[in-house]
């Protein structure tokens, strides 16, 4: 154990000295994925980097980019009698316009935290007289498992299971960022687990068309330092490519099997991203063939046009335009105990990561 730690420290020292050598000029890197945001804050990586390197957080926490209207819609559904809502735990405290799932549960709604879609299916099997709705929130990483659950439900004829799909995919929002004149990013840490599904081909336009290199990165402190070195080397050598640091998990071609599952069950649709707005073809809706298991078709749900809280700058945080601590609500009206925007409530939200771990946010 101690030897392993010593090795890691030596390696980290090597990466850091190369970073210090290569980072003579300012270089801004956006980490796309919320898990990276947390890993960077938790390991206090910013403190170790030279001032010329800026790490900013991108739109990669699925909870954070879920639109207020979608939140109010699933809260409406969760409050219906005879409905069991199955959800991953990180949704339980996300505030809608009036309530949260946690508050609804205390008021008597049947809301269960599940660890997988298989648990949700099991709930449906065990409660045949209830409607079990799984809240489908996530990127390409979790979408295949939701697709499998829908195929299983269809195959087994489980008619009381459905999914409310609020799923989103990563490439379109990256294109939007690349085309935004206000964006100041030079390079990207690309999401390791998303790319383990989709591969690197869907991201290559960033490097080719926009000159924005990326490295598919793992989630330990060493992975992140190595990826930063790889990006700096690309700059030094005048290259712009999508490379893979996280090669123990992510392969260039991704996971064709998982991709097929997604394609069979879902189709691209336009989707609203919180604070960013409508992005064409950036969401996934459930295909007609699985319409009977689509909660949006199965239940009559009103359309909500929920406004975001005035002053909340989640949108600018998600686009990397400001650091969380620059939001006027940060740490004052908006804290993890009383979150205003979802960037503060989700454990992977950049605001929560800053509030939880980063020293600068204290001072």
């Amino acid at each position: 154990m101690n030897n392993r730690r010593k090795d890691q420290q030596l390696k980290a020292g090597d990466y850091l000295s190369e970073i210090h050598t290569l980072a003579q000029n300012p270089f801004t890197i956006m980490e796309v994925c919320g898990t990276h945001t947390v890993a960077i804050a938790k390991n206090a990586i910013r403190e170790l980097l030279p001032a010329s390197i800026r790490l900013i957080s991108g739109p990669g926490c699925p909870v954070c980019v879920t639109d207020s209207s979608d939140i109010d819609r699933y809260l409406y559904l969760a409050a219906q009698p005879n409905v069991i809502t199955a959800t991953f735990g990180d949704m339980i405290r996300v505030p809608g316009t009036e309530k949260t799932l946690q508050v609804l549960r205390a008021e008597g709604a049947d809301i269960r935290i599940v660890y997988s879609t298989q648990d949700a299916l099991e709930l449906a099997r065990k409660n045949p007289d209830k409607e079990v709705v799984f809240l489908g929130i996530g990127f390409e990483t979790t979408i295949p498992t939701v697709a499998v659950s829908l195929e299983t439900a269809k195959h087994e004829g489980i008619t009381n299971y459905s999914v409310l799909s609020m799923h989103k995919v990563v490439p379109p929002v990256l294109r939007l960022l690349a085309e935004d004149d206000a964006l100041v990013v030079d390079a990207f840490l690309d999401p390791g687990h998303v790319c383990s599904i989709i591969g690197i081909e869907p991201l290559e336009f960033m490097a080719k068309d926009y000159g924005l290199p990326g490295v598919v990165t793992g989630f330990s402190a060493l992975d992140i330092l190595e990826a930063i070195v790889m990006l700096l080397r690309q700059r030094a050598e005048g290259r712009s490519k999508i490379e893979i640091q996280y090669d123990r998990v992510a392969k260039a071609e991704g996971n064709p099997h998982a991709k097929r599952f997604i394609e069979r069950v879902f189709e691209p649709i336009d989707a609203s991203w919180r604070g960013i707005g409508l992005i064409r073809q950036s969401g996934l809706g459930i295909r007609e063939e699985y319409g009977a298991w689509d909660a949006a078709r199965k239940f009559t749900l009103p359309i909500f046009e929920s406004k975001e809280t005035p002053g909340c700058r989640c949108g600018d945080v998600l686009k990397g335009l400001i650091y969380p601590i620059q939001c006027p609500l940060f740490g004052k009206r908006c804290t993890p105990m009383k979150p205003v925007g979802p960037c503060m409530v989700s454990s992977e939200g950049s605001c929560a990561a800053y509030h939880r771990y980063v020293l600068r946010s204290v001072n």
Partner: protein, 330 residues
């Protein structure tokens, strides 16, 4: 299979039988055997009193069960306050239909753990509620301890003091979680649930400033409370945090932080720097303290701020547990 019936809580014949054949059989002692509405116990002018209720699910887990937990939890609250635990009360709320053999296993555990901790169960109560009105069994224990000359509490903490822990962290939380979610690890995680008064007697020296058992909310939340109460800052060193390999692996896999996981057999001890080495040696000489470690230091600085130095040398905040982590872990 024999099961608990509503009549077992009626106060009639079945209640009487249950008391005789189960509670008195396993827990009997001169105080309990008085069989009065209240037991008379020897006292002193000032006593320490604490109470705790136990609702853990599942009832049985690797390393313990709700009965053992109900004794340890209350004994430990007395012991870390500097008191000598002497007497416990035992109140049970049973759900109609609870298998009798499960109840007996729990009561036997209560008896064994009370004997290990050197406390007597001096009175008790049993209620039975209809099926569905409780989850199998809930337990409340109240503990009485004798005051010693151990002057401990957050008011004693000063910058420069050392922070020690008596062993690996997070074992109870992971043991419960893996039982509940059916996770299997190569080396199973065993709950650390244990009465700590013996360990505390073994390491205690004047110079111990404050003791707490980091149960719900874990080490992080307990240290935040202490730092706030004492108006000091604390710096932990991540590499010094004792972790079993299984807990480390489980946390990596599940995205949990060991600092927030519950412990049921560990003491956080804040000591004056000049006695830290000797106390650490005393801890390590006791079976429950073999993995004791010095994990950080009390510092001047922003009141209530707990920081952690990462292996790469950066510092980050360690905040309180927010919201629900795992319900019903004790």
């Amino acid at each position: 299979m024999e099961r608990i019936l509503l009549a077992h809580g009626s106060g009639g014949r079945l209640s009487h039988e249950l008391i005789k054949t189960l509670f008195q059989k396993h827990l009997g002692n001169p105080y309990l055997d008085q069989m009065n509405d209240a037991s008379l116990v020897p006292g002193q002018e000032q006593i320490a009193v604490t109470t705790d209720s136990f609702v853990v699910s599942p009832l049985f887990f690797s390393g313990g069960n709700i009965g053992k937990l109900a004794v340890c939890g209350t004994v430990n609250d007395l012991a870390v306050s500097g008191a000598i635990p002497k007497f416990l009360t035992l109140a049970l709320i049973l759900e109609e239909g609870l298998p009798m053999d499960e109840l007996e296993r729990i009561v036997v555990s209560v008896a064994e753990t009370a004997a290990e901790a050197g406390v007597a169960i001096v009175c008790g109560d049993t209620k039975v509620v209809e099926r569905g009105s409780a989850d199998k069994i809930f337990i409340n224990t109240t503990g009485i301890g004798y005051i010693t000359d151990r002057l401990v509490g957050p008011g004693q903490i000063r910058p420069g003091d050392e922070i020690l822990i008596t062993g690996t962290i997070g074992d109870h939380g992971i043991a419960i979680l893996s039982e509940r979610e059916g996770l299997e690890f190569q080396t199973p995680v065993v709950s650390d649930c244990a009465p700590l008064n013996g360990l505390i007697d073994a390491f205690y020296l004047p110079g111990v400033k404050c003791m707490r058992d980091p149960t719900r909310g874990g080490v992080a939340t307990t240290l935040n409370e202490l730092a706030q109460q004492a108006g000091v800052s604390m710096l932990l060193v991540e590499e010094q945090l004792p972790l079993s390999l299984s807990v480390e692996g489980a946390c990596e896999m599940l995205g949990l932080e060991p600092l927030y996981l519950a412990n049921e057999g560990k003491v956080l001890v804040i000591v004056a720097p000049e006695v830290a080495d000797e106390i650490l040696l005393n801890m390590k000489a006791h079976p429950l303290g073999r993995n004791a470690s010095r994990i950080g230091q009390v510092q001047e600085g922003k009141s209530g701020l707990v920081l952690l130095e990462t292996p790469l040398g950066g510092k980050r905040i360690v905040g309180m547990l927010e919201g629900e982590h795992l319900p019903r872990i004790c």
